[in-house]
Every structure is written in structure tokens, then in C-alpha cells.
Symmetry: D2
Subunit: 150 residues, 4 copies
């Protein structure tokens, strides 16, 4: 929870709109755009924050559950450049029997231009390391993650 | 061209089988597997080598052509770990009117286990920065890139 | 300038205490610690923020000035791990005739434990690409960067 | 051991001269130079190869020994750019009672221009995680690492 120290106004809802990242020199490459691989770090950052905000992540991992990404489908729409500020927006897309899908988008904070659209398919492994069926209590937990709000 | 300094045997064909990468500590993450984002650097490495081997890349870029990746669809099959040696194998999949697709695979050099399957869709931009039609001389050049050899 | 949207309280001073980074899986390596190279990205992040806060950086770079790092001396004191939150604290150490030095520290936000001590020596290049003497107006600008506050 | 498949000429000594890295787009940043942080990955790559070539690294780590870097002092001499090929050259500088120092250099393969000079101070931790005295058998092992050959 992030609040104003003077008036205790809760800025939480705004912050939840997305993980904010300011583009720096080290994020960019030859073309002075953010490098293709770097965006996957931005997406990972967004997913950790999503999970932190909506799951008791320490308890979840303490119970021996792990997230394993099995597919990422990422479209590069418009390049982000040094000095831009982007928001990583993340949510649940669907939950299948064995795998589930996050939807993520990276947008320019000021213009709203879409830089990245991505779908990230994952499984949940238990202590054995094997993917678990997404049912019962485990599915309930995943349903706590809000739907992507396009 | 890589040759043996003693007998001038051309080892080039073997080298072309793939870009070889030994997995080091800095490639891996929390789970002691190569990190999701890092694989995209491995794929980029493989594409540069593919293009160097089959295009006159300096002339191509000197003519004002640039490759822009518009989509990557990457499946994480089995994790690579510190000490593993992987090969990045890359080739052409198809050439459309406006975009074309590379197919890439990262395999364990010794076991042959597939770590990564990926399709990388790209466009070619000219000096204006706008995507060009893939026809005529430009298409001829792209056809010099060999088909992915599964 | 970052303000509360309800009461316009200026939270700027707090934010200036340091660039805050939460450690994620992709920051860490084999040993489940933040990787040695990654800390240099954290330090670069801290320097960009320092310069943004105290120089008119766009004007400075628009005038053709560039910062070039010529030496980094970094000591790894205690490892940061997934879930830790660190602050990157940055300031000026000294300004010589041709080069100047930033001092930076990365500390655990909650325990205050020092993870990293670093000194970063840089020169300023002009449009010719050559290092400039740090005198006159240029030195005045650099003196706007506050001393490191240990 | 790397040999020619035609004549079995041992190219090992040449390869040992340094770890070879071709600079790609994803290595570079805003200024179209290799990014400061990336060089630390190149240095780590060089150290792993040095250790592999001269220690039985699997046995060493199997015995519970770990290398921990405690300081890196890196000087950026001249920038490497896309298309350059660099060699990472690594060796032992000195072995003290509690810590030891690697010396490393990154040079342009063709011009010999020095890009990077670095000294990397490390300790050896045992299974307890605490630094060990560098004496007896442990020191003998470290002495197998050749002196840096400037």
C-alpha cells in the first residue's frame, strides 16, 4: 500500500495500473530502441508485481509451488526509446486444465501507444517439479489474479 | 571462414550447424535455469550468425536495409543449466509479401534435447524506416538464407 | 517532481533518497544472488536519476555533452536476494580537471546493510567526442550534483 | 580440447589465448558501444573459461568450494562496436592470505586495441559459506591458474 505521507490519500489504485519503467541507455541497443530481449525482463517484472499484489506469493512458493513459463508470444508494435516512460499492464487471460495464460501489454505512459502485446503461457509445478492440474484450491488461488483489463 | 591452421581443412560446414553457447552462471536465474529473456539473446546471436553466413550483411545494411522483429513465438521445452552446451540452429521458414519468418531451435549439443522452439517474424525497413515489400532483388537476397533444416 | 494527487504534498525529498529496486528472479544468478554485472545496471539507473534530478539533462545532452565512464571500482559487500528491496544512493565525490567521480552505494532498504560500494569515474565529451576540461560553465553544472551523503 | 577433424592438429593453444566474442546489436547501448555492464559478463565468461582450462572445476565445486567476487576495478579504454571481435584474456595476478586477484583484459582481436583492463578480487568460500584461508592444497590448486601474460 502506497499512500501520501501528508494526507494518507491512497495512490494504490493508480500504481496498480501497471509497473512503471523509465527507459534508460542500458535498456536500448544498436537501433536506440529497447532491445527485444529486454522487454521480456519488463514482462517478468510486471508478472512478479501482479502476483505480489494478488497472491500471498511467499506462502504460495513456501507451499512448494513454482511458476514455469512454457510459451511467450510477443508482438513488437512500436519501439520505446531512451527517456520514454512505459507501463507494464498484466492480467489473467484464461485458466485451462494444465496451463494458464497471462495477458500483458507495455504502453507509453503519456501517449498510450502500445509498444508490446504479449501472451505468456505457464504451468504450476509442485514440489516434484511436475506440472499440476489447475483445479480445486490451486485454481481458486489463480482466479484471485484479476482478468486483463484491456 | 574458419580453417585449420595446419592443413587448411575448412571446418566451416560444421560451424554452420549452429552457434554454440556454453551456459555460464550469469545466464541463469533463481531456478538455476537459463532465464527466459536470455534465450532471446541466444536467438539474436543465432540470427546474426545466420545472416553473416549467407548475406553480405555489411553491404545489405550499407544499402540502408534494417531487420525489425515484429513477433517472437517462443516455446520453452526443457531447461538448460550451468555447464550445458547448447546449439542455436536457425533458418528461413517462409517469406510473405511484407514479412518473413525465421525458425530457430536451441538444442543440447550432446543429448540433442530441445530446449527452445521459436518462430521470429520480421520486416525489412528501408532508409525511410518503413517496411518494404519483399519482392524483386530484396526477396532474392532473403532466399539466399537456407531453409531451417529440422 | 512527484506529488500526491490529492493534496499536492511534495514527496520529492523522500524519492531522492535513492532509486528503489525490488530484486526479482531475473536479476539473480546461479548462487541466487544478484549477478555482478546486473549491479552495474542498477548503478547506471541511479546515475540517470541523479542527473535527471539535478541537471537539465535534455538541455545538457542537446548541447552535445555526453558522459563517458572511464573507470568503475565496485566492492561487493553483501549479496542481495530475490524479494529484497534495495536503494541505489548516488552523489558527487570530486571534480578534477579532466575527470570527475560519482560515489554510489546500494543498501538494503529495510536493514540498511550495504550491498555495494562503488566509485564511478567519468569524463564529459563534447560534440567532437573528445573529453573536455571540467572548468567554467561546465564545472558549474556538475557542481549542481549534490555531494554523496554517506 | 578442440582439434581439426581432418588432421587432428590441436588448435587448443590458440583458443586458450582468449575467449573470443563477436559484438552484436544486443551487446550495445544508446551510444552504439558495448554497455558498461555487459563487459562484466564478458569478464565472467573469460574467468569461467580460464578456470575450466586449468582447474578440475566440477571436482572443485563438488568439494563445496565457491568463488565469490569481492571487488572489480574496471577501466574502459576504448569502446567496442557492433561487428568488432574481441578477445577476453585472463590470468592470475596474485594470491594473498584471504583473497586473490585475477587480471583480465579485453582487446580487439584484429587491431590489438585495449578495450578493457580489469582486476577482479575474489575469495574462496567453503561449504559454510565463509571465506577460507588460501593456503595448503587450496593454494596449490589456485597456483595452477597461469599468471596473466600481458
Amino acid at each position: 500500500m502506497i499512500g501520501c505521507p501528508a494526507c494518507e490519500y491512497n495512490t494504490f489504485r493508480e500504481v496498480k495500473m501497471g509497473t512503471e519503467i523509465k527507459i534508460r541507455g542500458y535498456h536500448t541497443d544498436l537501433y536506440q530502441h529497447v532491445n527485444n530481449a529486454r522487454y521480456l525482463e519488463f514482462l517478468e517484472e510486471g508478472r512478479w508485481q501482479l502476483l505480489e499484489d494478488h497472491l500471498d506469493l511467499d506462502a504460495f512458493m513456501g507451499d512448494g509451488f513454482s511458476f514455469f513459463v512454457v510459451n511467450i508470444n510477443i508482438s513488437y508494435r512500436s519501439p520505446a526509446r531512451v527517456g520514454d516512460t512505459v507501463l507494464v499492464r498484466s492480467g489473467r487471460k484464461k485458466i485451462g486444465n494444465k496451463s494458464a495464460v497471462f495477458q500483458q501489454q507495455i504502453v507509453d505512459k503519456f501517449t498510450g501507444a502500445v509498444c508490446i502485446d504479449a501472451e505468456v503461457t505457464f504451468v504450476i509445478a509442485g514440489t516434484s517439479g511436475r506440472p499440476l492440474k489447475l483445479e480445486g484450491e490451486l485454481k481458486e488461488k489463480l482466479l484471485q489474479i484479476p482478468l486483463f483489463d484491456g
